[in-house]
């Protein structure tokens, strides 16, 4: 029982971080129907930026997030304008897979040349501190990371639901043609939406770097998890991605705590398979139109 509860605590805290990463991914899909295979690489790039700011200038990775967010947003807009916009509309879905994968490889290459292949981690003075709650230990970094993820998700929610830009995004997701007719500038929304998706990678990167050691190759593991979460939640649904992230990370942490860590990684994909068999559009996905 004790192990089970400890597992749930870990799963929920980790789930928040994955929710943040996957929300950016699913947002990009929702707006542009582009499956962004570079999202994992963006997270790792942001983790390296936070690492370097910490090592060179002693900036706490939580405090460097505003800086990295701006950088990642700019990068996202740049990638969209340079590489995705020129694609023809009819084969955008297929070609964007190749293009974003190429971007991921490019980022990986630059990272491994710059920081070589050694694993890095951001070791703050509080990295190993934990809070005892009854007989359970809650790692402080995870708790802060969880709260920050919630805050970032909250910010994303406000942007999408309370701003003119958010309304344009939602309109584009629900019906791109009608949005265009009503004067939504699809090109601009796409570029800013891609930037916003990449910007979520900034906060996620800082947190990832605090929690796990990483190197340039880490994005492969990450992107497979993110894609599973996005598909599970329903592609394009931010709320679905949050719920899906919670489900998968809690269940894999519980399996690791109660059964064996050997089965934990598999849990992720077993759940995905089951959902695809029973509800192919994902938990919150809609068969036809987009949802957010």
């Amino acid at each position: 029982m004790h192990a089970l509860i400890q597992g749930v605590i870990l799963g929920v805290l980790t789930g928040g971080v994955y929710a943040l990463m996957a929300s950016g991914q699913t947002l990009i899909f929702g707006i542009m129907k582009v499956i962004n295979l570079a999202q994992g690489a963006f997270v790792i790039l942001a983790a390296y930026l936070a690492y370097q700011l910490f090592v060179s200038f002693g900036v706490d990775p939580f405090l460097s997030i505003p800086v990295t967010t701006v950088v990642m947003f700019g990068l996202g807009v740049g990638v969209q304008v340079l590489f995705l916009r020129p694609l023809r509309r009819e084969d955008k879905a297929e070609l964007s897979l190749l293009v974003t994968f190429a971007v991921a490889l490019l980022v990986e290459g630059v990272l491994s040349v710059t920081w070589n292949t050694t694993h890095r981690s951001i070791n703050t003075s509080y990295a190993n501190d934990s809070i005892s709650l009854w007989s359970f230990q809650i790692t402080e970094v995870r708790l802060w990371a969880f709260l920050l993820s919630l805050a970032a998700l909250g910010g994303l929610y406000l942007v999408l639901n309370r701003t003119r830009f958010g309304r344009a995004v939602r309109a584009t997701v629900q019906n791109p043609d009608a949005a265009l007719l009503l004067g939504v500038e699809a090109q601009r929304v796409s570029a800013l939406g891609f930037g916003l998706g990449a910007a979520t990678a900034a906060a996620a990167g800082s947190i990832y770097g605090l929690l796990y050691p990483f190197n340039a190759g880490s994005h492969y593991d990450l992107i497979s998890r993110l894609l599973s979460i996005v598909v599970l939640g329903g592609m394009g649904s931010v709320g679905g991605a949050v719920i899906a992230a919670m489900i998968v990370s809690t269940s894999s942490a519980v399996v690791a705590s109660t059964l064996s860590p050997v089965w934990s990684e598999m849990t992720f994909f077993v759940i995905l398979l089951l959902v695809l068999l029973i509800r192919p559009q994902g938990i919150f996905g809609t068969a036809g139109r987009g949802a957010i």
Binding site: H2, A3, Q6, G7, L10, T14, N116, T117, T118, H119, S121, N123, A127, N128, D129, S130, S132, Q137, T139, L211, Y212, P213, N215, G217, S218, Y220, D221, A253, A256, S257, S260, P261, V262, S264, E265
Partner: protein
């Protein structure tokens, strides 16, 4: 963990490369004797300067280069200056075969020495065998290397990888019965270079009556160690043996610190023996009392060790702590070649092969000796973190007066 995945993917490619390489080798003549030559002694090596093994590969190269400059400053080998011909294998088992074939057939080097990793050493050693070249190698110590039963191969480290941790059992079992741990937990990475070390220790401890209260093998993809460590904490073992590589060692320690449990005896097969990375990753205050095993360490009194460290610092800067063990191991390869020449007055492949199967050979790693398959027959040193430094503590002969510290103090007390 992408690196390990790539290794797995690379294995079948390597097998195919070997098959392709066989006919080429079969029709080549055996032309290896560089005996009565004068002029420079050219030694060929294929090293991973790019790809997955680039970092350790460069450390190996640094060791070879350092030895060459040291020996040349003393007038070379039998009056011949040493010259390395180093080519990049991009960490690929295909390329390594091509490289050694070219070094031997095209460049007609006098000797060849090994690349980095077991994965690359196996195909490379077979090429060397085919042409009658001796194959001293610093970094291929997995069981499959010795399963080949090659008489030309010599693994230049004190012991094969799987026996790396045995020195910890030697020490624990040397303690009086009432001071020994009664219970033990084993957490092992599912990896051919980690699990066997811990399993070797487990069988020795179980035979000596130390009860196994928990054992868990975890996959390379594991990111969160707290579920595993929470279970270790639940059984409160006297001793924790981690069959670790690197990141997982840091992950285990961090989780234990967070869960506030410090086992009285703690041994990690790898990761904890890295003088720079380990304190950086887990926090210097959390290292005290953790044990590991190593072949070379700063302050070692083995043959030529002080000269090696001084030359390294002179060439690369930094301190003795920043010297990668792979450099010391590569340097030891050179020392062995030097010793053969000194003892026999000759330097050719046949002499090296026939000479090294007997006797003991002093190097920076200690005195080395080999069995018929090239597996070294010595043992590693037990090292422990004390006052923020990694020091040898057992066997006493090489411990320079350091005593093992036990029970391990609590976290953060370093």
């Amino acid at each position: 963990m992408a690196l390990r995945n790539r290794l797995r993917r690379a294995a079948p490619i390597g097998a195919v490369a070997l098959l392709l390489a066989v006919p080429v080798g079969a029709c080549s003549s055996q032309s290896n004797q560089g005996t009565s030559k004068s002029g420079p002694l050219v030694i060929g090596a294929s090293i991973s300067l790019t790809g997955d093994f680039a970092d350790p590969g460069k450390a190996v190269k640094a060791g070879y280069d350092l030895w060459a400059s040291t020996v040349n400053a003393k007038g070379g080998i039998l009056g011949r200056p040493v010259q390395f011909k180093i080519v990049d294998d991009t960490s690929s088992p295909d390329q390594v075969v091509t490289n050694y074939q070219n070094l031997i057939n095209k460049d007609k080097v006098d000797l060849v020495v090994g690349p980095f990793s077991t994965l690359l050493t196996i195909p490379a050693s077979q090429v060397a065998k085919r042409y009658g070249y001796a194959f001293l190698e610093p970094a291929g110590g997995g069981p499959k290397v010795f399963d080949q039963k090659l008489d030309n191969l010599f693994f230049v480290q004190p012991a094969p990888v799987v026996k790396q941790g045995d020195v910890f059992a030697d020490w624990v079992l040397s303690l009086p019965a009432d001071q020994r741990p009664k219970t033990a937990a084993y957490t092992e990475l599912d990896d051919p270079f980690a699990t066997p070390i811990a399993e070797n220790l487990r069988s020795r401890f179980e035979a000596a009556g130390i009860k196994t209260v928990y054992k868990q093998v975890y996959p390379a993809e594991t990111q969160d160690y707290s579920p595993i460590m929470a279970k270790v904490v639940a059984v409160k073992p006297d001793m924790l043996v981690g069959g670790t590589q690197s990141e997982d060692a840091y992950g285990q320690v961090k989780s234990l610190v967070q869960l506030k449990f410090s086992p009285p005896f703690m041994f990690l097969s790898n990761g904890a023996n890295s003088p720079v990375e380990f304190p950086d990753k887990v926090g210097a205050g959390n290292t005290t009392g953790i044990m590991s095993s190593g072949d070379w360490f700063p302050g070692s009194t083995a043959a030529g060790s002080a000269d090696f460290a001084a030359a390294y610092i002179k060439a690369h800067g930094g301190t003795a702590d920043s010297i990668d063990n792979s450099s010391a191991e590569a340097y030891a390869v050179g020392q062995v070649i030097e010793a053969v020449a000194k003892k026999t007055g000759k330097i050719d492949n046949a002499t090296i092969i026939s000479t090294l199967h007997q006797g003991s050979w002093p190097t920076v790693l200690g005195d080395l000796s080999w069995d018929a398959n090239g597996a070294p027959t010595g043992s590693f040193h037990l090292v422990q973190w004390q006052n923020g430094k990694l020091v040898p503590v057992f066997p006493a002969a090489t411990a320079a007066g350091n005593k093992p510290l036990f029970p391990k103090p609590n976290w953060g007390s370093g």
